[in-house]
Symmetry: D3
Subunit: 240 residues, 6 copies
């Protein structure tokens, strides 16, 4: 039995609910979910990242104390991922990192379709840090903010599809990574739309992908390296 | 329920048995196993790779026809991996690819400890193709052939440990990947030996790692891109 | 006097004949030619590669026993290249490797125009392994299978030219590599068509290029490193 | 007249004072200095980085409102650098980024000598993000925490020198970057010690280097790209 | 007080005058200027580079003897930069190197707009040598020779703007580097034209940028590494 | 019949004579040789490179006028290579470029053993420009100036061998490139000394290697791209 804690790095209630996540579970896999008390409504750049990360780490420490088996951060920007790993020993999985590495395994090159120009540099930098920049064929954007993704669902899928087609045909990507966890649930529709055009490419939904990687790590009894992610030294801290 | 077929790319019986593999399973995960009818006794270079690959692909086609959910090739050199993906639609996972990408997720850099100098170029080339060369800190060798690994177990673990220590201390690797599936079952002993020296680094056993990635792909309903791995065109083939 | 054995990795008779090759010779250079007994009709992907490679290696061993000076594999995918080098000491040259390195010497960037989307990943991976990915500006495809190249010659040249123009003008390539040995004999026509448009760029025909590199290695008394390409260890092999 | 605000990302008073900084000024250059109200005592890893960054950004916004010309963050890890750039239009300079790029201009390769193994991954990742990883020959550590650097000055200089010598002789670095702003003031002593051994290599003190880059940007009327670093969208934020 | 000598690598009088440069100075910064006695009229390729470099070095040695504080070579191709550093100990700054590194600090990626196709390979190679190729999004050309830039000013600005827009919109560059010192004085007009289109990106004028970097090095008491740039050994030289 | 002109970029008579070169010829291959009228005695850094290059180009133009088939520049630093290509249409081959690409074809990684620390940066930069840096395992130096290589032959071979052994054993190079054309004639002795230690690695003598590549280009009717290496525009030049 594996229990995964999903941490949504947002102060908005209802952006992600246990209902959304329940479908990911199955025999031997359960989920719990928390949002932030302090932080932004959504992550659309480096500043949002910075003000989300401290509470993500606090939630990660709490999750380990609660006895969960692994943690998934619910954002493609992976806010707080590396810091959380310094504070806990259970696996902490970022959808950005997990979906880029999965994508790299499924084709010779992958592409990311994300929300806004504002996150292009952040995703590009993550690909460099994660060591997969060589496999990243393109980043394209639908130009829609996170908080409008739910109400404008049809438009989201249409624009994701258009961009995905260009990623495959113009940039020779063999896999599409949805570049925002707010696109949760859109992958099948886009894969189907691509298939109608004769393009048989996997579309990675980052939250399920991250959850599956987290479960795989638990099953393989693997976690991040404490040699690379060292526990912070004892010293005075103010406000955290 | 996920069923994974392990294909050992060797004609030697008993090198890998269902007993070895049984321990990997659990609720919802079962395994079957086949070896090759034609090919080498072990993979220790590019020639062995070439004469193993055709039968690996044949076994992969057979596995898909048998209705298994995913395939794991039982060799760090991933012989036949890319070709098998052109012939089947279920996930085909190579321990080389899977363990390098997992390693890249668990630390800032990883190292591989493998059997012989002869496979150093092959592993280095795979890291380039898989897009993770930037994260590969070192390849070190224990200088022992595959077919002696079982009978010389204590010596294997001792040499793996010595090399792993150097990978961490001299090459600043944060994760060790065991660079041969013949090292199956050694990971815990090496991790423990490292921990005794104060080095808390994950040690990846490639077969369990690949099996967990295969199961994760099945759960996430993902497989390789048929756009990148296209079915061969109909044409005359002799001898296969 | 240098004698080169051309190994065509196909079971189709007449795809390549000594007549085609005779023109490459000259004072001090002679050729012989063999095809495969077992394998595919043409190489258009990783699976074709896998089923061609064993017989390519067998033919390479035979060539060395016959006393030839060097071997050229007649396919841009270089099937069996690395394995053959483990089995023989005379130079084994792949048109893919040789023409990419020659191209890298003749301009700041080069491009490849090849047959089908299906081989794009394979050529991209070879460029990574050969260490010249940094100089590869683009891969473009004419979308025609190997076995139609001879009968549709005019169309082949027209499409190669169109793609070559785009490689130079859009991707800033300074050299064009013909990405299939089935394009043998087309280079001059394409170079002339480019020159008519004011684009003075070399067009590399991979078979003559590989033959010239093979002869150069023989003259320089160089061959591949047996330290990198080690003879396989003695062990049981079935079926090869 | 250029006025630079130094933001020390620590809650410890006296770690950096205006006295330290006064010497950097000159005709036309003045400094002011602030520390954090909330955050860690020192930055020795990713978690420290995460809890320092929000207050660094707040201090940067305050600095711009105060009318300063440029901002320097007083830490090699550049905490909050990218986020601050999204919030202000005046130049924000990180010593990590500035000193790595200066170093890249002064020799064919550079090395960093830093405090602890714990920051090695962070500095390596920054080099990737800043695009200078290709010029980074080595990272070496003196194994001393930030808060002991002042009282153990002689030992600090001795260990920095030993490591610097190895960077030059073993890793072929042509420039040494001091990898912590806590090494402020040590550069001349190390350069002199290297020169005594016949090694004429620049030693970059990151705080003066960053200040000079900040002044250069002001003089050249350049600042970071608002196209790359976009102002955060209006939305609800809690706690910041 | 910092005095910078500008060396224009051209034999044409009046291409650059002290009037052009005066505006760069300020309190504490003065300039002097020399052209070449032997060399080309302008640098538009590798041959021009080769015949300019010897006299650039001679002028650099002369400048150091004159007691100037730093040298700026007035050409994006940085002719003689590395050789001059072997002969003098004061900082020698190339606008190519300085502006590429500044650009790399101001955005996640930058682009260069230059004069002619003929210099594309040279600039691409410089980016590789300087270690910033990973941040270079594109090189675009206005297709105008150096010696026509002054008289066709309006056209120059129009074409620079068009190309800059494409660099930002199509290649996702966040900074524009003007790729020829003959574009001196155009940066503000282009930045303004970009801003009108809503693109807030810095435009780097390489001569002021190089001058500011040179002054920064002087202030930080840094110069190039004599370990990397060694004084030539005593030996017979003819004609120089 | 192919005639190659060797241009030695030195003003010293007798450093290279037709006697040295005669042995490279054979049926269908003849050589002529020139040195420089203006330039350095030897190339041991960037300044030597700069003062050799103009006369190398002049000699290249003269060679083409003389009707030779190809040109080889007799120095691993390839002075004037790119500029000469702008001025002539016959192949111009640099031993640095040719031997690095040949080496890249003969093993998975190669190393260079050269004369002095002073040339390390230059060779490293050439590897980046030529696109083979990824295959370059190490550069090691014997610490002997060019003009002493002839009289200290035994010592040269001894030191080359020691360094070559370390390149193979410590840096995992599969091929050794002799990093100075002054090492002409040493390759066989070093290869034999390596073989005695059980290390079967090719040793590339750069002058014969470059000559063989030049002949191969002539036979393949290939030359450098005039699109990449454009003829200089007509304009005033002083002193050349």
């Amino acid at each position: 039995m594996t229990h995964i804690r999903i941490i949504t790095p947002s102060v908005v209630e209802g952006l992600r609910s246990l209902d959304d996540i329940a479908g990911l579970g199955g025999p031997g896999l359960t989920f719990s979910h928390v949002a932030l008390e302090r932080g932004p409504s959504s992550i659309e750049g480096e500043y949002d990242h910075v003000i989300a990360a401290p509470d993500v780490v606090r939630r990660a420490v709490e999750a380990e104390a609660d006895g969960v088996d692994a943690i998934v951060i619910d954002c493609m920007g992976d806010p707080g991922l590396q810091a959380a790993r310094e504070r806990v020993s259970i696996p902490v999985v970022g959808p950005g990192e997990a979906s880029m590495h999965l994508a790299a395994m499924l084709a010779h090159r992958f592409a990311i379709v994300t929300i806004l120009e504002a996150v292009r540099p952040m995703l590009g930098n993550l690909a460099r840090v994660y060591g997969v920049a060589d496999k990243l064929a393109a980043i394209r954007v639908v130009d829609m903010p996170v908080l409008e993704l739910t109400e404008r669902r049809a438009e989201v899928i249409e624009r994701l599809t258009e961009n995905a087609v260009r990623c495959v045909e113009d940039n020779h990507a063999g896999v599409i990574v949805l570049g925002c966890t707010g696109f949760f649930g859109c992958a099948d529709a886009i894969a189907a739309a691509l298939a109608e055009r004769g393009l048989i490419v996997p579309v990675i939904d980052p939250i399920p992908a991250a959850a599956c990687v987290a479960e795989a790590l638990v099953k393989a009894r693997l976690t991040h390296s404490r040699h690379s992610y060292r526990s912070p030294r004892e010293k005075r801290v103010v406000g955290y």
